[in-house]
Symmetry: C2
Subunit: 430 residues, 2 copies
């Protein structure tokens, strides 16, 4: 019976091969060929039913490095993309949370952006490789262009994106801890982000079984074959168990609400759809979209706060849509430990709550010219339109528009010919 | 400490009330007012943290009716929308699967559309209230317009939609069984569909914590307050555990793949995004969108099959987007027992696999005129555009365009002045 079954499967495969070879349109983009557009290593990852294990092999990782992810029933393995990813953390306090993350994050290089008082000493747990920048460093490195980097607001994290020279960034807040999945196993958030970034997105058509590239899933009936290759993923937006990312009014109304629902899904946010991007647990391909990952003017001296990541998300999404990049949301979860003070938040968000009612329609309608083919070009065009169309809302948007241009200038300088040695941090590089 | 906390919460509420009353824009659409646009009964359902229980109370159900849903730790209660919902089942065989569904479906009226040989006797389990239509009935009731109803294809189910006089429809295939959630409890699929249909959708902006109206969830930071009322939901698309709804090529390549991932989420499919709507486990508001829920010309005498629900889904989605109705997907799951034969399927899907590569761009670009303000008007316009723009693909689309018009004519006749008595079934109505 087993033999018959095997023959049957072999016959089916043969028939399909014949079918697909007969119709090249399908064979070039069909189910079997859906990983054709991926890099070779990604193709291996995706095609395998045990992708997470094969991934590490395909990436040439040895599995012997200390500090790799541990999962029940899975051997310890080396950290994925160790030399291609920086972790950016904005903070005003000691980074005790890194102790819990040690098995997952310690192999990676940290870029710490110290907010607030530069004279305060930030303690980083031993064994972490890091560079640390405070406000004095930012002023020294950027000179007059430092005006585009926010002060006394976690928006300052984008300075870390600028200083990185790696392809990928994972950014996490210092009140985010390792979450557990429903079976009680710790979630390696970074590993999931990397999986998300290394597998394609599907922004042009919704797949009802969510991420078609996950093991055990695929494209469902009716999904056009020509779209099954997907597009490259620029952003992976992770979620939060425990304290959800609510605005001040919702925090006030539901002071005790906790997010306990573990939704086992990753999905592409469709083209043309905006979303509220939270910077708490976020990863992205810096080479693809980093230039648009600007967190705006927030905090000290600015009329609003807590819209830094939202602003970056809206800008990034319209640019990703224009350039055909993918944005994913869903897994991984982190455990968000404490809600920020809703009264303080209300003060920060106050104007943003009104402004977003006009900002969202602006972003929903924005059209970028065909000539804008790089993220930098798109961003400059967006800055121009922000200055033109949102300035009636408040003079702040003129200032923001100018800061967006300054950001791109600084980004281009630092990402361009400037050598890393010209812009050293004052942190300890282990 | 508890007292202080209570005072604090009360004070927060007071402050928010003051804040919201000061800014009427927010107060009319803010978090506390998000259910303002719902019907009173729905507002009760949504606002409560124990919504499923309060729902049944708010709906005036007694909880004494036999056959209500049973959940661990939850009292038996009366069936939701018992007199407002019909269950439509297309079949060619005995409906043994209804035995397993008895606790959940037996309180509802069934409309059975018998496909294939009209002389065959379909056995319906005792105790079910039903009407049954075979091909002879369809021909008798619709006369020449019966040509728009497919034969030897489950597309014939849409005749049942036409015959119903209820506000809501749940349609399910006869190889779908009761699924279990990860905790081992049976899933009352219909109850979840009703919850989906009675709570709003959010098609204009993505909420990263999925359905904001579920207990324990809400709109996240950055979600515009003016969009938090949502829009009425027209369609609830449920999913499948066990055998996934794959096309023939994917079935052939992955003959043994099972869907074992229970994703605990319901979400709105954003405006402007198409999806592959499967008719296996589907509910909709017949008054809102029924006229567009036409499953096309499939099966006997037609060049394709297995695109019936896809066609309906594409048509419905563009019309829902045009009219501002919501479409949800996700929960509930059913257990899909057996994969259909991939070889037979390949024959049926063959042309559709090619055609959909042009059909999808057509639907993605279709624009309905502002003057089309009813589903019927939208559908007639869509039929016209199908005839004009897809006829180059195959003469079939001219025929389909005409059938779409015939469908609307028949729908209008039967939904209009025609009395139910003019169109009796030959089934046993208990």
């Amino acid at each position: 019976m087993l033999v018959v079954s095997d023959v049957s499967v072999a016959f089916k495969s043969l028939l399909l091969a014949l079918f697909l070879s007969t119709f090249p349109l399908i064979s070039s983009c069909g189910t079997t060929g859906r990983s054709a557009g991926l890099t070779p290593r990604l193709a291996h990852c995706v095609a395998s039913p045990v992708s997470t294990i094969v991934c590490s092999t395909a990436l040439g990782l040895t599995g012997t490095k200390a500090g790799g992810a541990k999962k029940a029933g899975m051997a310890v393995r080396g950290p994925l993309l160790k030399d291609e990813l920086d972790i950016v953390i904005p903070t005003i306090r000691d980074l005790a949370f890194l102790e819990q993350w040690r098995p997952y994050l310690s192999p990676y290089h940290l870029i710490i952006v110290q907010d607030g008082d530069p004279t305060k000493k930030i303690h980083v747990p031993e064994g972490y490789d890091y560079e640390l920048y405070n406000r004095n460093d930012i002023n020294r490195i950027l000179g007059p262009k430092a005006s585009c980097i926010s002060f006394k607001d976690s928006a300052c994290r984008c300075f870390g994106f600028m200083m990185s020279k790696k392809k990928y960034i994972f950014t996490i807040d210092d009140d985010c801890w390792v979450a557990k999945d429903p079976s009680g196993h710790e979630i390696n958030a970074l590993e999931q982000h990397i999986t998300n970034l290394l597998s394609p997105s599907t922004p042009f058509f919704f797949n009802t079984l969510y991420d078609p590239y996950r093991a055990g899933a695929d494209f469902v009936r009716g999904y056009p074959f020509s779209m099954r290759e997907g597009v490259a993923t620029a952003i992976s937006h992770g979620l939060w168990l425990n304290v959800p990312d609510y605005d001040a009014p919702t925090q006030l109304v539901k002071p005790s609400e906790k997010n306990t629902r573990f939704v086992d899904a990753v999905m592409t946010i469709p083209k043309g759809t905006l979303f509220p991007m939270c910077g708490m647990n976020l990863a992205f391909d810096r080479e693809m979209i980093g230039a648009a990952m600007y967190f705006g003017l927030m905090g000290d001296g600015q009329p609003i706060g807590r819209y830094d990541d939202m602003w970056a998300g809206w800008c990034c999404k319209v640019i990703c849509d224009h350039l055909g990049f993918g944005v994913k949301t869903g897994l991984p979860y982190i455990h968000h430990s404490k809600a920020s003070n809703p009264f303080v938040n209300l003060k920060k968000e106050y104007k943003g709550i009104f402004w977003q009612e006009e900002i969202i329609p602006f972003f929903q309608q924005v059209v970028l010219p065909k000539e804008a083919v790089t993220v930098e070009q798109c961003y400059i065009e967006l800055a121009k339109q922000v200055g033109e169309k949102l300035n009636g809302l408040d003079p702040y948007f003129t200032k923001l528009s100018e800061a967006m241009v300054t950001w791109i200038e600084a980004w281009t300088e630092l990402s361009g010919t400037a050598k890393k040695s010209d812009a050293t941090s004052n942190g300890s590089v282990n």
